[in-house]
Amino acid sequence: MIFLRRSGGPRPGVTDELALRVRLRPYRAVLASRARSQASYRANFALDLVSSFLAALVELAEVWVLFHAVTRLGGLEFHQILLVFGLADLAFSLADLAVGHCDNLPTYLRAGTLDVFYLRPQPLLLQLATSDITLRRLARASVGLVALIAGLAVNDIAWGVGAVALLVVALASGCATFAAMFVWAGALQFFLIDGAEMTNAFVYGGRYAATQPASVWSRPLKAVFGFFFPMAFAGFLPTLRLLDLPAPAWLPTWLGWCGPLAALWAWAMALLCWHWGVRHYRGGGG
């Protein structure tokens, strides 16, 4: 009897899981319907996939063309740059896939649809982030993934637990950093009228910078994309560490492990801006 009663009682793990599922249900419902509706226009969807695949391919080709003129860039050779590109581009595409539509905020602001988010019992930022998903960005992510795999194959890597861990840490924190950039850019739209051009310069400029070796950046770029927006942590620094390459004098190689710190910093900045933005929208106070 006692045994039965015990097993029939609520187990804390199970109820937690249930509560979490109930919590996630709204986001899942929205995202699933967005995905379905995009995939339902087959021809359109296929075209979208192809065009964003080509666009991503052109970006990779740019790097390749560059190496027709030079053999080394910032102390790295083409096969090494491939790894930088793969890491940074994959991280960016995944972030873009998940929260890239934070770009839509100006449209929402103009049309007043943001007010609709206020009338729903979920946090605003989470609603915005999960309000859409752009599946065609999967095509872009696939190019990043292929570049990364190729980069891993052609380079001489001392495989082990450390190398795998470094890869995972770099990819996850790079993705988080880029996602923070999108949120930061979205938050600024509360203040700027037609400010998307300006913030895009940083978001897409940041992506471009991240796929290049940080050692070729000019001093101001190093300041902006090395530390303020910590883009060097997405591709360049982990690659140096992974390939055990000599770093520029100003960079210790253990920085390759500091992606999570960079992500934390980026998110702190993004959330602070978001908070300010919402306050501004509501007109101060609260």
Binding site: R25, P26, A29, S33, D115, Y118, R282, G286
Partner: protein, 317 residues
């Protein structure tokens, strides 16, 4: 019972840039109102009088500059997420539906957003579909709906979680007569069965006359009137009008006690007499008319509320 909406000295200012100069604009000015559960309140005012600003403060979208507001016993800005479960808002101009999804799918997502249990969701959706006559277009994508259909879907979307307080911002704007009528009937029924509190802003005086038992008039952010429709007519001295159709042509019906002859048509076959609802009754005026001439038919016209609002505005300036 505690109030469903209570504001004290609610004020909201905006800074507007006028060329290079900045100036303060008071959209809502020292508004003190109390709305009890179950009331149906018409919130009327000209464009830019402060209606939308008030609604945004009631729902936690805007932070008041000063004063306090409680909605459903909660502080709208601090408790926004809890409040969202108890309030439903219909904006006439902006949609909460997903334009590329069928209506039914939008309802399903909203049910998930409000964490409705499956049984509640089914029962409530069925109730709304039935009452708003939406069965014909449930599987149609929202972007293909007519305005009337879309508005009904919007109302259903806002009411799906059975909120205690429903705020409607210009719900009948642009609707044809039949759609308006349907929507009004639905709101009356919803209020009767669920005891829902209604707060609606409108330019359509028909909405106010059919739906509301209390009127708030706002002018330049200030409360200009708070009371029922009859009292509003009284307050502004608006008069009711008795229209009589007579059997034969007759001279103007002057000299009826407490009534004034307004006009005659077709040699006096139809005559209009206005009277002060305070001083006499329609029945008394009619009796006095019937004593003098033979009456074929008659109607009583209520004061035109737009005219009444205009008078309130004029009297305040």
């Amino acid at each position: 019972m505690s109030a469903i909406v209570e504001t004290r000295g609610l004020t909201r200012e905006f800074t507007v840039r006028d060329g290079r100069r900045r100036r303060r604009l008071t959209a809502v000015d020292d508004l003190t109102v109390r709305v009890e559960p179950g009331e149906a309140v018409g919130y009327i005012g000209a464009n830019g009088a402060g209606k939308s600003t008030t609604i945004k403060m009631l729902t936690g979208i805007l932070v008041p500059t000063s004063g306090t507001v409680t909605t459903c016993g909660l502080r709208p800005v601090k408790d926004r997420r809890r409040l969202a479960r108890q309030v439903g808002v219909v904006f006439g101009q902006r949609s909460q539906l997903w334009w590329d999804l069928p209506v039914r799918e939008s309802f399903r997502i909203l049910a998930a957003i409000h964490a409705l249990p499956a049984a509640t969701e089914r029962a409530r959706t069925a109730e709304l579909v039935d009452r708003l006559e939406m069965a014909d277009f449930l599987t149609t994508p929202v972007r293909q709906l007519s305005l009337g259909q879309r508005m009904r879907a919007e109302v259903a979307a806002a009411l799906l979680h059975a909120p205690r307080l429903v705020i409607l911002d210009e719900p009948t704007i642009g609707l044809d007569v039949l759609s308006k009528q349907r929507l009004r009937e639905f709101l009356i029924a919803e209020r009767r069965t669920h005891g829902t509190t209604l707060l609606l802003t409108t330019h359509d005086m028909g909405d106010v006359q059919r739906l509301c038992d209390r009127v708030l008039i706002i002018d330049h952010g200030r409360l200009a009137y708070d009371g029922d429709l009859v009292g509003l007519g009284r307050a502004t001295g608006a008069e009711r009008v008795l229209v009589v159709d007579l059997v034969g042509p007759s001279p103007d019906l002057t000299g009826i006690p407490a009534a004034r002859h307004l006009s005659s048509e077709a040699h006096g076959l139809r005559q209009r007499l206005s009277f002060d609802a305070e001083a006499t009754t329609a029945a008394r005026v009619f009796a006095a008319v019937a004593e003098r001439v033979e009456v074929l038919d008659f109607t009583v016209e209520e004061p035109d509320i737009e005219d009444v609002v205009r008078r309130i505005y004029a009297a305040r300036r």
